[in-house]
C-alpha cells in the first residue's frame, strides 16, 4: 500500500479509524515540505450543504455527514496540524445554516482554514461568512509548503448585481447546479493580481498547494465543474516545480495533470454527484486520467463518499482514497510519466463494473 515507512504506519493507524466507520473527509499527509524534514498531515472536509428547514430544524441527512466527519477527524492519530474546509457549509447561504454548520465544525480539535463555496456566497455576497471566518483569499506557509486559498466561485458582475430581483432569488438560482440561467465561476482580475504578487515572494522550488472550491480546470460548464479563467490562474502557477490544486464542489473523485500542476478533488460530506458524462445531451471533459469512483448505492446514505490521504513527500501528491464499503484506492504520482495514476485500476482491463458510469 505504501512505499514510505512513515506513511505506512500512518495509514495503519488510520485504518483503525476507518474500521470504526468510514467517513466523508480527506486526510492529507505531507511527509515533508521543502525546508522541513518533519512529517505533517492535515484533514480535509468539504461540501456539507447544511440546510435550514424552519425554526431549529435542519435536514438530518446533511447534518449527519458533517457530524460524522468531525467526530472521526477528532480520532485521527497522529493529529493533523490543521483542517481544511473546502466550501459550501450552507445550502442557501443563510446565517442559520452557516451558524449551524460552524457550530458542528466547532467540535473539531485544531485550527480550521476555510474556502468559500457558492452556496455560502450568493445570498449576501459572502458578508456573513467573512464576518465569521475572515478573508476569502489568503496564503500562509507551513513547514516549507506555501498554501494558497482562492475564492473561485465569483462570476460576472452583471449576473450578480443586475439579473435577479432579490438576493434570495439570486442564491436559489446559483444553488441549482443544472441551471440554464446560471453563470460560470471565476477567480477574477483582482484575485489574480493578488495571487501574482503573493507568488512573486515564493521561491520556485517551494511546493505550492492551492485550494479552491471549483476546479481550476474546465470539465463541464453546465454544472460549473469549471472556472472560466482557469488557464490564467494555471499560468501563474506554471513557474513552480511542484504544484497541486485541491478542490471541492464536484462531490466525486477526479484527478488530472496539466503540465506541472496536479489536480485532485475531494468528496462531499452531503451527497455524491454523477459524472458529467452521464448527462448525454451535452459534451463534457472529465480528465481521461480519472478512474471514476464506484457508483453510489442510494440506500446507504454515505456511500460514494470517502476520505483521502495526500502524501506530498516528493512534492507531488500520492493519494489514498479510503472508501466506505468499497475497496480502497491509491492514486500515486508516477515519476516516469509525470502523472497521477491509480495503482490498481488505471489500466482499462483492471477496472470493475461499478466504476462504469453511464
Amino acid at each position: 500500500m505504501s512505499n514510505n515507512i512513515n506513511r505506512r504506519g500512518f495509514l495503519k493507524q488510520a485504518g483503525a479509524v476507518v474500521a470504526a466507520g468510514s467517513l466523508p473527509l480527506s486526510l492529507v499527509e505531507i511527509a515533508f515540505g521543502k525546508d522541513s524534514p518533519a512529517n505533517f498531515s492535515f484533514a480535509y472536509i468539504s461540501d456539507s450543504h447544511i440546510t435550514h428547514i424552519k425554526g431549529n430544524e435542519f435536514v438530518r441527512n446533511w447534518d449527519r455527514g458533517l457530524k460524522r466527519a468531525v467526530a472521526e477527524a477528532n480520532l485521527l492519530d497522529p493529529r493533523p496540524d490543521f483542517i481544511f474546509y473546502g466550501g459550501d457549509i450552507a445550502q442557501l447561504g443563510k446565517p442559520e445554516e452557516l451558524d449551524h454548520g460552524l457550530e458542528i465544525l466547532s467540535g473539531l480539535r485544531g485550527d480550521v482554514h476555510y474556502v468559500m463555496g457558492e452556496h455560502d456566497y450568493y445570498l449576501d455576497l459572502g458578508d456573513y461568512w467573512k464576518k465569521k471566518l475572515g478573508p476569502d483569499h489568503y496564503s500562509f506557509d507551513h513547514k516549507g509548503v506555501h498554501f494558497v486559498v482562492l475564492n473561485s466561485i465569483l462570476t460576472y458582475d452583471d449576473w450578480t448585481n443586475n439579473k435577479w430581483p432579490t438576493a434570495a432569488e439570486r442564491m436559489h438560482q446559483m444553488a441549482r447546479l443544472d441551471n440554464p440561467q446560471g453563470s460560470p465561476f471565476m477567480v477574477g482580475d483582482a484575485q489574480r493580481d493578488w495571487l501574482k504578487q503573493d507568488l512573486d515572494k515564493v521561491s520556485k522550488d517551494t511546493p505550492v498547494v492551492v485550494f479552491s472550491h471549483s476546479p481550476i480546470q474546465k470539465i463541464h460548464k453546465g454544472w460549473n465543474f469549471w472556472t472560466d479563467d482557469a488557464e490564467q490562474v494555471q499560468a501563474l502557477l506554471k513557474p513552480f516545480s511542484k504544484v497541486t490544486v485541491i478542490y471541492g464542489h464536484v462531490h466525486q473523485i477526479q484527478y488530472n495533470q496539466i503540465g506541472n500542476i496536479s489536480f485532485h478533488s475531494a468528496m462531499a460530506t452531503a451527497w455524491p454527484w454523477p459524472y458529467p458524462s452521464t448527462y448525454r445531451q451535452v459534451e463534457s471533459y472529465l480528465p481521461r486520467l480519472t478512474v471514476e469512483m464506484n457508483r453510489a448505492n442510494p440506500f446507504f446514505e454515505r456511500d460514494a463518499t470517502g476520505w483521502q490521504f495526500i502524501n506530498l513527500h516528493t512534492g507531488n501528491v500520492d493519494m489514498s482514497y479510503m472508501l466506505p464499503g468499497n475497496t480502497n484506492r491509491v492514486v500515486a504520482f508516477d515519476t516516469a510519466t509525470g502523472k497521477p495514476v491509480d495503482t490498481r485500476y488505471q489500466a482499462v482491463a483492471n477496472r470493475i463494473p461499478p466504476q462504469v458510469h453511464y
Binding site: V59, R176, W271, P274, P298, P353
Partner: protein, 135 residues
C-alpha cells in the same frame, strides 16, 4: 395538471362520432406538433417538480443528487433492483427517493405528478438506447 389519458378518450370519442374506419390513424403534421407540445408542457412541469416543486417539508430536491436527471437510468427499467430484491419500475424508485432523502409522501404511480416526473427524466435521457435490466 391535465390527465394525460384524457386525450385518448377524446380521440376515441371523435373516432366513433365523426369519422369512418380510416380516421383513427390519419393525423397531420400539425397534430404531431401539437402532441409534442403537449408532451413538452408536461416535461416542463416535471422539471419544476424535480427542482424543488414537490412541496416536501425538508426542501431537499431531486436535482440535488441528479442534475439534469442524470444517474436515474430510465432506459434500464424495469430491472432487478438489488436493494429491493425484486424487479421494480422507475416510478417505485422515484417514490423511494421521495420517501427517503426527500422525507416526503409517495405518489400514486399514475398520478399527474409521477407522470410529469417520468416525462422529464426520460426526456433528459432522450437518444439513449433501451437497456432493460441493465446495471
Amino acid at each position: 395538471m391535465k390527465n394525460p389519458f384524457g386525450y385518448c378518450l377524446v380521440c376515441i370519442g371523435l373516432g366513433l362520432a365523426v369519422a369512418g374506419p380510416a380516421a383513427a390513424d390519419e393525423f397531420s403534421a400539425a397534430d404531431q406538433a401539437r402532441w409534442q407540445a403537449e408532451y413538452l408542457s408536461v416535461v416542463k412541469q416535471g422539471e419544476k417538480l424535480f427542482h424543488g416543486g414537490l412541496g416536501n417539508e425538508n426542501t431537499v430536491s431531486c436535482d440535488q443528487c441528479h442534475p439534469n436527471a442524470s444517474n436515474t437510468h430510465p432506459e434500464t427499467y424495469p430491472k432487478f433492483q438489488q436493494q429491493l430484491g425484486r424487479v421494480a419500475v422507475l416510478g417505485e424508485m422515484i417514490n423511494w427517493c421521495i420517501m427517503n432523502p426527500l422525507e416526503g409522501k409517495p405518489l400514486a404511480l399514475d398520478s399527474p405528478e409521477m407522470v410529469a416526473l417520468q416525462s422529464y427524466i426520460t426526456y433528459e435521457r432522450r437518444g439513449v438506447e433501451l437497456a432493460p435490466g441493465k446495471h
